[in-house]
């Protein structure tokens, strides 16, 4: 992650992005019926009269889905209020009822926010409950739109519970847009209401993109980008769209409000339908579903059970370690923040704790390293019982097979080398390699660095890594000065 603003837009233009993120909730069943909510099953095996929209069927809402949605709302600092389900009417074959059941003017969650690792606050307008659509596969055509092409529809996904999270149009850089989506994913995984897999479609991002002259505040015509399959793809799609709109403006033209489809392979987007007017959906309240009215007790219970969220974890680690935001974000991403704070609490040096975690514990599985043993290792290193090189080796063994650092160090015969012994070795090496030594003493910056590497390497080999690299550097400097 970088905090720098990417120089993607020509000077004088500003990006305005709002994101609509659809998240499938990890319930056992669909939103309004008992069909399984499961990805990857045989087509049309998880269907029933309710999710097929057959006449006379009656939807009853899934209590767990509603609870998950409220949990997500609270994690996004939303107001959780009484919600009303509504019908959004439109004809498209992936919606067998010919309307989508969603929330319109009374969403369950509204007015929230998400804090990015660099402190930028993304406003969240709403996070409403709705049902997913079926999945269409388009067949045939041979490239000609008027040929006998057709679509095949699988309704297994129709009626799967979704929350649609709508951000304010406040994202000003591609980096912020990316950080927002990964921040949402982190929260979803932390509270466990969705598996948030973009590649399986359980998290889908549509981006509303517009541009404006830098320093102005108006919202200009936006285009909605669809078919974004990854965070990286989103970054490319937003950049392409912003540049396209700037091109239009600078050539005296205007973008028109439309949906555009991102083609990841081609690296470009193509115009889809002009966006339907909101009125054209003829929203009305769903008569078959009664209001969702959360009680104060329910909301209090959700808040009480809320796990520590990434933004709070970053703040805690920053407080404990005094490290900068980028390093802190990395450690929280890796789930190493609790270990770091525990080690610091046990008296391990904060800077060393962070350095060792950042550089030497960049592994997928560090489950065998306990907070206690990690703290002990750093304390040993700080006390000079282990050199930096030895500490790294001990840590590597702890990652592989667990164990206690003091026992590992003992088994390996590690003891930090005494100063006298080391200086004797350095002198011997200088005597054995006069040419290299001359280059170290008389050479330019590059030579000096190269030769320092050479001598340090030799010492490490001779001592099997027990020498302290910094002590070697000091001795070399001393000898060349004298």
């Amino acid at each position: 992650m970088t905090w720098s603003i990417e120089p993607t837009l020509p000077e004088g233009w500003e990006l305005v992005v709002g994101l609509e993120v659809h998240v499938e909730l990890a319930t056992a069943t669909k939103l309004f019926c008992g069909c399984a909510n499961q990805f990857g099953n045989e087509p049309n095996t998880n269907v029933c009269p309710v999710c097929l929209g057959l006449p006379g069927s009656l939807p009853v809402i899934n209590g767990t889905a509603v609870k998950y949605a409220m949990q997500l709302g609270r994690a996004l600092r939303c107001d959780v209020k009484p919600g009303i389900m509504a019908r959004k009417n439109y004809f498209y074959p992936d919606m067998p009822k010919d309307y989508q059941t969603t929330q319109y003017d009374q969403p369950t969650n509204s007015n929230g926010s998400l804090v990015l690792p660099d402190g930028f606050v993304v406003g969240i307008e709403r996070a409403h409950i709705e049902e997913d659509t079926g999945k269409s596969t388009h067949v045939g055509g041979g490239g000609r739109i008027n040929d006998a092409v057709y679509s095949l529809v699988d309704y297994n996904r129709a009626g799967v519970p979704l929350v649609e999270i709508v951000s304010d149009p406040c994202l000003d850089t591609i980096e912020h847009a990316k950080a927002y989506v990964s921040g949402l994913r982190d929260i979803l995984l932390a509270i466990g209401v969705s598996d948030a897999r973009m590649e399986e479609g359980s998290m889908r991002v549509d981006a509303n993109v517009s541009v404006r002259p830098a320093g102005t505040t108006e919202l200009r015509t936006r285009c909605e980008l669809k078919n974004i399959n990854s965070i990286r793809s989103m970054g490319r799609a937003i950049e392409y769209e912003a540049l396209r709109q700037i091109d239009l403006y600078t050539s005296g033209d205007n973008p028109r409000q439309e949906t555009r489809h991102w083609d990841e392979a081609a690296g470009r987007s193509t115009a889809g339908r002009s966006k339907e007017n909101l009125d054209d959906y003829r929203f009305f309240q769903e008569p078959d579903l009664v209001p969702l009215v959360p009680t104060a007790e329910e909301i209090a219970a959700i808040d009480a059970a809320m796990p520590a969220l990434p933004s709070a974890r970053r703040a805690a680690l920053m407080e404990a370690s005094g490290s900068d935001a980028e390093v802190v974000a990395t450690l929280v991403d890796r789930g190493q923040d609790t270990m770091a704070i525990a080690a610091i609490d046990r008296g391990a040096d904060a800077a060393k704790v962070v350095t060792r975690l950042q550089h030497d514990l960049a592994v997928d599985d560090f489950s065998k390293v306990t907070a206690e043993s990690f703290a002990e290792l750093i304390i040993m290193e700080s006390a000079g019982d282990l050199t930096a090189t030895q500490a790294k080796q001990v840590l590597a063994e702890m990652v592989d097979s667990g164990g206690h650092p003091r026992e590992i160090a003992e088994a390996r015969g590690f003891e930090a080398m005494e100063g006298d012994e080391l200086s004797g070795l350095v002198d011997q090496l200088i005597a054995d390699n006069p040419g290299e030594w001359q280059r170290f003493v008389d050479g330019d910056e590059g030579d000096r660095k190269k030769m320092q590497g050479f001598f340090t390497g030799q010492i490490m080999r001779a001592t099997k890594g027990q020498a302290d690299g910094r002590a070697v550097a000091e001795l070399l400097a001393q000898r060349s000065a004298g």
């Binding site: 319930t27 056992a28 069943t29 309004f32 019926c33 008992g34 069909c35 399984a36 045989e42 087509p43 049309n44 095996t45 998880n46 269907v47 029933c48 009269p49 097929l52 009853v60 809402i61 899934n62 209590g63 767990t64 889905a65 509603v66 009484p82 009303i84 009417n89 439109y90 004809f91 498209y92 074959p93 269409s136 596969t137 388009h138 055509g141 739109i145 092409v149 057709y150 679509s151 095949l152 529809v153 699988d154 309704y155 669809k226 078919n227 949906t259 489809h261 889809g272 339908r273 054209d280 003829r282 309240q285 008569p287 579903l289 009664v290 209001p291 969702l292 009215v293």
Partner: protein, 100 residues
């Protein structure tokens, strides 16, 4: 003709509902819909200051279903109802100009 709804609005709503109306039908429905809206306007003229907004007629909230899987229905039986099916899926005409 009433000014509650225009002929163009009826044509637009018919298009949204995928209804093909003959010219004389458009005229007839414009007239009828105007009467419906007229009736709604009558209701609007009532003083309802003391009546809370009501979304549903029943005094019910929070009717929930347990998140427990129940049997789905037989796929072959479902697909047999469809005008066309292929590869265990519903076969439908493409919708031009829509997402693909």
């Amino acid at each position: 003709m009433s000014d509650r709804i225009t002929r163009d609005e009826v044509v637009h709503v018919a298009k949204l509902a995928r209804l093909e109306l003959a010219p004389h039908e458009i005229d007839a429905f414009t007239e009828q819909l105007a009467r419906v809206l007229e009736h709604a306007a009558d209701v609007e003229s009532l003083n309802v200051d003391d009546v809370p907004p009501t979304s549903h007629p029943l005094p019910l909230v929070n009717v929930f279903r347990e998140d427990v899987v129940t049997d789905s229905i037989d796929r072959d039986e479902v697909l047999a109802q469809a005008p066309a099916a292929e590869s265990h899926m519903f076969r439908v005409p493409p919708v031009l100009g829509e997402e693909r």
